[in-house]
């Protein structure tokens, strides 16, 4: 498997605080990669660096072999690298169907190419993906009226609508009703296998990430602490210490 995303020796400082120090990480084409670490270990900062929310201080980031460290979020998204947010971001005053329609890949086009109605095929695809995450009955509801968990599902469906090559998910199961988590894991897996989307997932729920990810990287204090298969990471003494404190 070839590398889709390569983070090479990235350091990111906010004032005097080093949020990421010399972080290197590879996500291979077609896999589900996991990113874990205690609160404040720099996982979300790394997502921000990868998707262009802020510039990195040192190091470089490559997507499909090209450097993206200097790009802004929109051009990075157009390359096929998307993210979701821990606190979810959806278009609250628009209906779910409208949220889906404007998330389609065609909306990347030049401004004058937007002066066309939403094609029927796009509407259908939006409906299908809403059904995929179980929100089909809500399609004419305002997105802002959905529960937090439903908004997370909508945000995931919007990301799939954009047909990314790589999708970065920031705690996809946080705030989701525990009885629905298995269904969500199943959908993440199907997005990976059926839609061919490579995933990099930040997750605090160990049961979820151990089940889902093919490989896991663990961050602590902004540095890579361990990486390997779920079993290797779980059995790593340093990872346990990072979470529970050294005895």
């Amino acid at each position: 498997m070839s590398a889709l995303l390569e983070v090479k020796n990235v350091t990111k400082r906010f004032g005097g605080v080093v949020a990421n120090r010399d972080v290197s990480l590879t996500v291979r084409q077609g896999e589900i990669a996991g990113l874990i670490g205690p609160n404040g270990s720099g996982k979300t900062t790394l997502f921000g660096s990868i998707t262009g929310a802020h510039a990195v201080d040192e190091g470089d980031i490559f997507f499909e072999g090209g450097s993206i460290a200097h790009l802004r979020p929109a051009p990075i998204a157009r390359l096929g690298l998307l993210r979701t947010w821990q606190q979810t971001r959806i278009y609250g005053e628009m209906t779910c169907a409208e949220n889906m329609a404007i998330s389609a890949r065609e909306a990347h086009g030049h401004v004058f190419s937007l002066l066309r109605p939403v094609p029927a095929a796009t509407r259908r695809k939006g409906d299908d993906l809403l059904a995929f995450v179980g929100l089909h009955e809500k399609k004419d509801d305002k997105a802002g009226s959905l529960s937090f968990g439903q908004q997370k599902l909508l945000e995931f469906a919007m990301a799939l609508m954009n047909e990314p090559k790589l999708l970065l998910l920031d705690e996809p199961t946080a705030g989701i009703n525990p009885t629905l988590i298995n269904g969500l894991i199943d959908r993440l897996r199907r997005a990976n296998t059926e839609l061919g989307v490579t995933l990099l997932v930040i997750e605090h729920n160990m049961r979820v990430i151990m089940n889902l990810a093919h490989r896991i990287t663990c961050l602590a204090h902004g540095e890579v602490l361990a990486e390997g298969t779920p079993n290797e990471v779980r059995d790593d003494r340093r990872v346990l210490d990072a979470y529970l404190g050294v005895a």
Partner: protein, 320 residues
């Protein structure tokens, strides 16, 4: 959103009544022709303000600049081009539209990166600065303003001419914007309003979208400026062309009163505002400004969502 507030059928009913009023009104009520002409001007003001303020979430207090540019462009062309009245007017309107769009592109590139209150305050400064520049610039008459050439037709014909011209402009603006809001461009505007960072992160080209939206507003405002200047016959830099404290604020109020981001809200707001304003003027002479201020307070307190927003909310409540 527009479809949720009004079913398709009554859209056409309203449009038919308005078209009938626009076409027959000035004939049936010739003494009110100038008032009706101002009404259509107010409709253009509200519709163009809503493009940014309602649909895109950018509250501009500087849209009056494009109106003012339209006023002056027409006045200068009509003064200097040496053309007969109607040819000069036509050329002046084209120049006003082009200059306004160019101004929107330049100001947009500079200011549409600013958000929220900062954008509102920045555009407020833009309007005031434009008025001061015009008032100090001898080429455009400086503080004493500019007089427009006399309309060549017979008595009474002039009022009808501007009444129909402004009606046509308002109708074109409404129909074009209605179509635009039905396209992906309209959805993109709403997406920018709801969460611009998200829209960026989903790959939308937000900067060009915002500039094109402001340019569309500026286009219609530029033309309306040229028509209004000719109808009034005289432009004062601060009281007509760059009248931020009157026209500039009314644009915002009319849209909020009718309902931001709704199809008919700006039209309805312009009607109610203009009619009440004229009634105040006629019946409360001396107190009309106080009454207007009171109306503004009532609008903001009781109809923060606007009339169309309030109706939609009520309808949603009765449906559920």
């Amino acid at each position: 959103m527009s479809r949720a507030t009004f079913p398709r059928l009554s859209d056409w009913h309203i449009a038919a009544v308005l078209a009938l009023f626009g076409l027959a009104g000035p004939f049936l009520l010739p003494t009110l022709a100038t008032q009706i002409a101002f009404l259509w001007l107010m409709v253009v003001f509200a519709l163009t303000w809503d493009m940014l303020g309602g649909r895109m979430g950018y509250n501009s207090f500087g849209n009056i600049v494009f109106f003012g540019i339209g006023c002056y462009a027409a006045a200068v062309i009509q003064r200097d081009a040496g053309l007969p009245y109607f040819e000069g007017l036509a050329l002046g309107l084209v120049a006003g539209a082009v200059l306004s769009v160019l101004a929107a592109i330049v100001f947009g590139a500079a200011m549409l990166g600013i958000r929220g209150h900062y954008f509102a305050i920045g555009t407020l400064g833009l309007g005031i600065a434009a008025g001061e520049i015009a008032a100090g610039w001898d080429y455009v008459g400086a503080g004493s303003g500019m007089a427009l050439p006399l309309y060549p037709g017979e008595l009474g014909e002039r009022e009808l001419f501007f009444c129909y011209s402004l009606f046509a402009l308002a109708a074109c603006c409404f129909l074009l914007f209605r179509w635009i809001y039905s396209t992906r461009f309209g959805l993109a505007l709403n997406a920018i309003r709801d969460d611009q960072d998200k829209a960026d992160a989903m790959g939308l080209r937000t900067t060009p979208i915002k500039i094109v939206a402001w340019s569309l507003s500026a286009f219609f405002l530029g033309i309306s400026g040229g028509l209004a200047a000719n109808m009034i016959g005289f432009i004062d830099p601060r009281d007509v062309a760059f009248a931020g404290a009157t026209y500039g604020v009314w644009m915002v109020l009319m849209t909020i009163l009718g309902g931001k981001g709704t199809l008919w809200g700006p039209v309805l707001g312009a009607f109610i505002f203009h009619v009440t304003q004229e009634l105040f003027w006629t019946w409360l002479l001396g107190w009309q400004r106080v009454a207007l201020g009171l109306l503004i307070v009532l609008i903001v307190v009781f109809f923060p969502q606007g009339i169309m927003g309030w109706l939609a909310e009520r309808r949603a409540r009765t449906a559920s």
